[in-house]
Amino acid sequence: MHIWVKSAVLAATMLVAPSLPAFADDIQLTMWGQGDCPPDTCMGAALVDAFNKANPGIKVNLIQQPTDGYFTNLLAQSVIGRGPDIASMWAGGYMDQFKTYMVDLHKYIGDDILDTVNGIDFFSDGYNHKNAVYAAPNTAQWYIGYYNKKVFKDAGIDKVPTTWDELAADSKLLKDKGYIPIVQGAVDGGAAFAPWEDWSYIATALPPGDWGKMLSGQMPYNNPTLVTALTKWNQLFKDGYFNADAYNSPTALQDFIGGKAGMYLGGGSWQAGNLVKAMGDDVGIIVPPYSDTPTKAAVSFAGGGYAVMNYSKNVDAAGKFAAWVLSDEGQKVIAQYDAPTRPGFPNNNPLLNDMATLSGTAGTVNYPMFDNFTQAPVTDALQRNVPQALVGQMSPADVLASMDAAYASLPDDQKKPISFAK
């Protein structure tokens, strides 16, 4: 045989080889998770381990991706069909951009289960799980603040603040005692702090109905109520009640856990496990008291979910994983780490139970997570500019105007009315 024929055969083999199926026994699936996943507190890893044991022949490989830029990376990979088989998904606006890449899970999960899942509507087309369901929610989540009971006691504070004025007064007491009253920073590894939690509570100055109007462009973000709220937030920073590097401190959470700070108001329920582990009974929950009257708000939403991507070569195996997450076995695993979405699976984290109690208390106004509904350019403006309002780099009016400008820049097909009705 001529040498060039041999070379051609060799080259062709090398080119084709990667596209040949692997002759392995297991179906290999890739799953993307978000952010750090320490081995002893990683719910995603525990779910994957339990699923792999319960389903011989299918092997899910969990790959943690940075939270910062997660959805942009997922979108980039999805556009070229190279994303994971299963992806961690957030509901609302985050999910909308992936609808063309996700599988309807009705094929794998029965209505008897879906009807019992808290938050399933937020992962469904038209916020109704009788339509297409795009992800299996894994937890119920809250945006919430935390406070250090020991530090509060040391500063002579016997109850958590519930208004702007009380927050300022307690912050002064904490500062006088040498503590950082409120700590904030880039806790998730990003270059600046993510304002989602603070913003949602700041926006509770308006009723949920007005949220829908702002999100739909019927009411400007740049309105007197929000300007006032952001101004008061900035005043706390000006008065020295936040850490000076609140914009981008890489050690904010460590400072709180280490007892240097009294409050960490930009948190969420996903941090409850780690905080209880690190601080024991010293940590308690506090609703960020961004309100002129005693706050009655609670911001909660379906937490993350697991979506099956339609470009997966093993869609059915991936669908099996999504169904397993909502099964009794899956819910028991979740209950060891967080609040499951189906009833009857209690967990033993006191902070999570406190959050559930808060949401269920008569008189509590439950809001969804604001950023789950903002359109991508508005989310971008919110993320970049709201932190600047805190540290005084931008005026509140300019920050809010930038969000209005981002909404105005949307193509017409994205300017749809948004409501939170289930």
């Binding site: 910062d68 830029g69 942009t72 990376n73 979108l75 980039a76 999805s78 556009v79 951009q97 063309t100 990003g190 270059a191 600046a192 000076a244 590097d245 914009y247 981008n248 401190s249 890489p250 050690t251 991508a376 350019p377 971008d380 970049r384 500019n385 932190p387 600047q388 540290v391 780099q393 931008m394 193509p411």
Partner: protein, 308 residues
């Protein structure tokens, strides 16, 4: 010479020419065949995506669907304050290039003079070049942190240190400084290589003619190193335009606001953070044009200087 002899010589010559032409043609074909894989590869991974990007820059591509929108994306750029800011920031990076050239040249010159510890210094200066831009960004972030070493030094003088990377007055300067510090090592090494190529006898002749050190550098060494200077200049400019996304992402994320947003970063933000891939492609094409113009100007400038 008789006529038959002339004819014989002519036919031998034409036979030789024929054989030579055939060999030349054969070599050309072989050459083309050998380079074909490289050409195909370059076309597939560079030329084709470039044309695709150019096409998509005239559409409203959202990752799934693309409709032709003509010059809309380019016209929108003119009215977008964020993109104007990113263009200015990119030009600031270009303007900082002398800081990425002069100190490395001075250090390379000193090292070339065989100062004591020469080899150790070379290794120390070159070592950071092996770091990725992400690591460089993380080091820069720590250096400029409010509790970092720079703030500590500033505080020694009783001046309250700002939060450098969170302050729009300082963030861009901090990022530009980090970039120029990061390229210091590689540029020094290139200049060292260039200095080694300069004819020693020419320098000695200049000394004998009474030239001082600055005159030797200006009239002998720099002209002899023109190619190296040009190379470093162009690579530094291209890197500052297209190669530091990871560093900015790690240090500031393009913020605060748009304070450290460059055109390169804006491509990513527009395409992936807001889902406007068509607009992102338009910024990318603009970035390419800006970079090519900058490189062309540098080449023109250096060519004129060389001829002068």
């Amino acid at each position: 010479m008789s006529a038959p002899a002339v004819q014989t010589a002519n036919s031998a010559e034409s036979a030789f020419r024929g054989s030579f032409n055939a060999r030349t043609m054969s070599m050309r074909i072989n050459g083309a065949l050998f380079t074909l894989p490289a050409i195909v590869l370059v076309a597939l991974v560079m030329v084709l995506p470039l044309f695709q990007a150019a096409y998509y820059s005239f559409t409203n591509w959202n990752g799934a669907h693309a409709n032709w929108t003509g010059w809309t994306n380019y016209l929108n750029m003119l009215y977008d304050p964020e993109l104007r800011r990113s263009l200015i920031n990119s030009l600031c990076f270009f303007a900082s290039v002398p800081f990425g050239l002069v100190p490395p040249f001075i250090v390379a010159y000193l090292l070339h003079k065989n100062i004591p510890g020469n080899k150790l210094f070379r290794a120390l200066i070159f070592a950071p070049t092996a770091l990725s831009w992400v690591v460089i960004g993380m080091v820069g972030r720590q250096f400029f942190a409010l509790k970092g070493p720079l703030s500590a030094v500033v505080s020694l003088f009783g001046i309250p240190a700002p939060n450098w990377l969170a302050d729009s007055n300082f963030a861009l300067i901090a990022v530009i400084f980090t970039y120029n510090a990061a390229i210091f090592g590689i540029n020094t090494v290139i200049f060292l290589t260039g200095l080694a190529t300069v004819d020693r006898s020419t320098i000695e002749a200049a000394w004998l003619d009474g030239a001082n050190e600055l005159q030797v550098i200006r009239y002998v060494i720099l002209p002899a190193m023109r190619r190296f200077v040009e190379f470093v200049l162009i690579v530094t400019v291209i890197n500052s335009a297209n190669g530091i996304f990871a560093m900015i992402y790690t240090m500031t994320g393009g913020g605060p606001g748009s304070a450290t947003l460059t055109l390169e970063f804006a491509v990513w933000r527009r395409a992936f953070a807001t889902g406007c891939f068509g607009a992102g492609a338009a910024i990318g094409i603009t970035l390419m044009i800006v970079t090519l113009v900058a490189v062309a100007l540098i080449r023109l400038l250096l060519k004129n200087r060389g001829e002068a």
